[in-house]
């Protein structure tokens, strides 16, 4: 019987080998994917047992803590706290028992300490008995610019509005504000049912406080799109220079027979303005003519280079694409080239348009992450500014910049009063206003847009502001941009 016993032993050995191989597969090979499966309550719960990393705004204005984990008295858990929650909510998002949003979600692996680059550090803490800790995330946000943006939006009479500021030379996002907003501290409760109740109330709020208007909501760009139209016109050579004369009748009869009017049906330098004059007065008929000359497909391809129609952009939060539809029909192209029809833009895209012009035609990839610091203070990740695209040549950028300066510096310019010498003295802001009809034929509900950068001679900040139903871009949006610029540049 011993021979059979020997074979039975082999069978037993085989069973144990299979078990051992399988547990190796489960716990070593598959461990990561099992552990990180959505719905694994363990990972989910565990995050409140350890100190999650802080989020810090490290841009101009000094380091400011945006989010931190504080121990809850009498328990072994930590709770998230946002010292200035509402102002930074569009950036930080929130971290709750039922998931997270914003930076909290995008850099979960760093904040929760699960990033592979933190593995060695975690092992050392484990061996030395130190409690596990998440890494600190430093953002490019400038507290000065962000505070100014939030306050300006908040004090604007309750309009839904958003503002974004970018450093044109690097793409670093300096401010990202949205209003109405929410206080993320409301959502940090560790009490599940309580969270659901508050979350439901916020979701049901008609003012949509959870919506990040700066990157996830689009508005008609209106005349601010003339920055893109001009860039396409100069680049394609359809218009020689800002001094070139264009035809700007009032009204303009479109090929399909419809009439296109200037704002307030005003004539534009006798119907024969230079491009720069049409730009500073924002004559619709002039740019409708220019757009028709450039053509729908070319116009769209230049918009694409500025970052429009890009559904893959992340900062790291996903950005809703700003859209310029592909149009071949001349009449519709005319509408598109003045930012009407189906054009839709995010405040971030408005800032990117200005940033590309400010940075000599090179658009830097917008980003929020400055660096990530492990608990042992070593830097484990940082962003190197990178080029997203080159929409126009430095020469064309200079020509568009010249026109944008005229908008605020020429006494006839649309933003002379609100962003020119009367408002900001010697600081030169280069900008473009937009006042978009948004479907309802009611002037009071126009969306106000302003895209700009400053100082014009040495651009350090590019800003995009959109105020829904704000009225004239120059009146409603430009002052907000001015406040952000002044706060950031700090007495120029």
């Amino acid at each position: 019987m011993n021979r059979a016993l020997f074979r039975i032993s082999l069978a037993c050995l085989a069973m144990f080998v299979l078990l051992l191989l399988n547990v190796n597969y489960v716990q070593a090979f598959e461990a990561g994917s099992l552990s990180n499966r959505p719905g694994n309550a363990r990972v989910f719960d565990q995050q409140f047992q350890y100190q999650r990393g802080a989020i810090i705004a490290a841009g101009t204005g000094g380091n400011t803590t945006l989010a931190e984990s504080l121990p809850v008295k009498g328990t072994s858990t930590f709770q998230r706290h946002y010292p200035d929650g509402a102002a930074y909510a569009p950036v930080t998002g929130f971290d709750s028992v039922y998931g997270s949003t914003g930076i909290e979600a995008a850099y979960e692996k760093y904040l929760a300490g699960t990033a592979p680059s933190l593995a060695v550090h975690n092992l050392i803490s484990l061996l030395t008995g130190k409690p596990k800790q998440g890494a600190t995330v430093y953002l490019t946000i400038s507290p000065r610019a962000q505070q100014a943006a939030y306050k300006a939006l908040r004090d604007d009479g309750g309009h839904q509005a958003a503002a974004v500021a970018i450093d044109p030379a690097t793409g670093a996002i300096l401010a990202l504000a949205s209003y109405p907003t929410f206080n993320p501290n409301q959502l940090t409760t560790l009490d599940g049912p309580k969270f659901v109740k508050i979350d439901k109330a916020l979701l049901a709020d008609p003012s949509q406080p959870l919506l990040n208007r700066a990157i996830n909501e689009t508005y008609p760009p209106g005349s601010s799109f003339k920055v893109v139209t001009s860039s396409a016109a100069f680049s394609t050579g359809k218009v020689a220079s800002p001094a070139a004369i264009v035809s700007a009748p009032q009204p303009l009869r479109l090929p399909n027979g419809n009439l296109l009017n200037n704002d307030g049906d005003e004539t534009c330098f006798g119907g024969r303005p230079q491009v720069i004059q049409a730009f500073l007065l924002s004559c619709n008929t002039a740019f409708a003519n220019i757009g028709m000359k450039v053509g729908g497909p070319a116009l769209r391809s230049y918009a694409d280079k500025f970052g429009w129609n890009d559904s893959a952009l992340t900062i790291p939060m996903p950005v809703s694409p700003s859209t310029v539809p592909l149009i071949t029909d001349k009449s519709f192209t005319a509408m598109t080239s003045i930012g009407q029809l189906d054009d839709a833009v995010t405040p971030l895209q408005e800032a990117m348009d200005a940033a590309a012009i400010a940075n000599h035609g090179t658009l830097m990839r917008p980003y929020l992450l400055q660096s990530v610091q492990a608990p042992d203070l070593s830097t484990i990740a940082s962003t190197t500014p990178s080029v997203l695209s080159q929409p126009v040549s430095p020469q064309v950028a200079g020509e568009v910049q010249q026109m944008m300066v005229a908008v605020t510096q020429n006494p006839l310019g649309t933003a002379y009063a609100t962003a020119g010498p009367p408002a900001v003295g010697s600081l030169v802001i280069a900008g473009k206003t937009g006042t978009a009809e948004n479907g309802i034929n009611n002037g009071g509900l126009d969306d106000a847009v302003f895209t700009c950068f400053a100082p014009a001679s040495d651009p350090r900040i590019a800003v995009g502001v959109i105020v829904k139903g704000g009225g004239f871009g120059a009146a409603a949006a430009a002052p907000i941009a001015v406040k952000i610029i002044e706060a950031y540049l700090g007495g120029h």
Binding site: M1, N2, R3, A4, L5, F6, R7, I8, S9, A11, C12, L13, M15, F16, L18, L19, L20, N22, V23, N24, V26, Q27, A28, E30, A31, G32, S33, L34, S35, R37, G39, N40, A41, R42, V43, D45, Q46, Q49, T75, S76, L126
Partner: protein
């Protein structure tokens, strides 16, 4: 060796306290002394009753038993004294004390086996008695109303519950039937080994000798049908086939057995919804709403093991309480989560060592009955570990049986200790030095009378 096992257990116990509450658990002295006393008694009994027995078996068994107690203590703390995990409601606050008591009873059974069964062959006299007893034990839960026989929440009718006290007789039936198989096969093995026709290079047995195999198969199928307990059914049939093979050395029996098992399993999966469902869960645990419904337990166990990873979270730092019934069938996933791959492999190796020491004793012992019984029992341990650990780690379809030594509950623990007692007795017989022959070695050998 034994002291080392006790030390490991005490250390693990203290570790749970640190992990959960940052301090030494209050019961350390009490539970520690009780556990040390229990295994100390076992040690003294072995010294007295089976001095030649394998010195490794008892420490290995004690280590597993102790770790099981530690894990049950750890799980019992879930949701108590400010610890997370209120999901566990099936563990009473006295679960640890009860498990220590069961361990004492188990060791008592172990000592009783050593004390009353001085020679394994004695059992051979009770072959048919024990066979009948085994069948009755198996059948009782099937005949009882499900209010008395169903394990709450599982649908398996495998226990006899009276008042607040329940026994799972299949654990004891397994032992009784192993003895019966050994006794029956030792006497019939020559007949069963007779070759019938030769077909495809395999000696097929005679048709009329198929009887016992078919009966064993039928019984295990009946267990499956009436008690909805696939694991036990597979365990019995596997045990029988293995012992049949050891007795006859005929590969044909093995192949017939495996073929019958596969056919039975396939037929059952087609005929009975709950069996087919086990297959679906096994193959597609992540599909559709399986993770939150049918496969919830399996998925939770796997996620726990994944969460533990290679080194584990450390005792008290994981969240094994998410897995339903983690204290019984799924206790290995709790070990996997908190002790990691390393701990789990170590525990599997301990099981493997127990099996290996049992088989070794079976190989070394001369008496064919003891040989067959030892081989069968050791294989039964291996098969049981394979079925349950394989089940919870998605290697094979999940069938609910207890994990030897670890799962919460008395029946399994007591029966396993008795099983180890039998293995110790066999190993004692195998390793006992032969008495000095009185005369010159000749054709006769001195055999001690039983």
């Amino acid at each position: 060796m034994l002291a080392f096992a006790v030390a490991v257990v005490l250390f693990a116990y203290a570790n749970v306290g640190f992990g959960l509450n940052g301090k030494v658990p209050s019961g350390l002295v009490g539970y520690g002394l009780a556990f040390a006393a229990i295994v100390g008694c076992a040690h003294l009994a072995v010294r007295q009753l089976a001095p030649w027995a394998d010195p490794l078996l008892l420490p290995l068994a004690a280590l597993l038993n102790g770790l099981g107690i530690v894990m049950i203590y750890r799980l019992q703390q879930s949701g108590r004294s400010g610890n997370p995990g209120s999901q566990i409601i099936t563990l009473s606050s006295s679960a640890t004390a009860e498990q220590v008591l069961y361990s004492a009873l188990g060791v008592a059974a172990f000592v009783a086996v050593l004390a009353f069964i001085r020679e394994v062959r004695v059992l051979q006299r009770y072959t048919y008695t024990l066979g009948a007893a085994g069948l009755v034990l198996l059948a009782i839960p099937a005949l009882l109303p499900s209010s008395m026989s169903e394990v709450p929440g599982t649908g398996a009718k495998i226990q006899i519950a009276v008042g607040g006290f329940s026994v799972q007789p299949d654990q004891f039936a397994e032992l009784a039937l192993a003895v019966f198989f050994a006794g029956y096969l030792v006497t019939k093995r020559d007949v069963l080994a007779l070759a019938g026709r030769r077909f495809l290079g395999i000696d097929l047995p005679r048709a009329r000798d198929l009887g016992p195999v078919l009966i064993a198969w039928g019984v295990s199928l009946l267990v499956l049908v009436f008690e909805t307990d696939i694991g036990t059914s597979a365990l019995f049939f596997g045990l029988f086939v293995a012992m049949l093979y050891i007795a006859t050395q005929r590969t044909s029996w093995l192949l017939i057995g495996i073929a019958l098992f596969l056919f039975g399993a396939f037929a059952a999966s087609q005929m009975f919804g709950h069996v087919g469902e086990r297959f679906t869960i096994w193959l597609h645990p992540w599909a559709g709403d399986n993770p939150t419904h049918n496969a919830y337990q399996l998925v939770q166990g796997l996620e726990g093991m994944g969460f533990g990873g290679v080194f584990g979270t450390g005792l008290g730092h994981g969240q094994p309480f998410w897995t339903p019934l983690v204290q019984s069938d799924f206790i290995m996933t709790a070990f996997g989560e908190e002790l990691g791959l390393t701990g789990l492999m170590a525990m599997l190796l301990i099981f493997g060592l127990i099996v290996q020491r049992g088989l070794r004793a079976a190989v070394a012992v001369r008496d064919p009955f003891a040989k067959l019984l030892g081989g069968g029992l050791a294989f039964a341990v291996a098969l049981q570990v394979f079925i349950i650990v394989g089940g919870v780690t998605q290697l094979i379809p999940l069938t609910g049986i207890t994990t030897p030594f670890l799962s919460q509950g008395g029946s399994s623990l007591i029966a396993t200790w008795a099983l180890v007692g039998l293995l110790m007795r066999i190993s004692d017989a195998a390793r006992r030095p032969a008495p000095q022959p009185i005369q010159d070695e000749g054709m006769t050998q001195v055999v001690r009378a039983g």
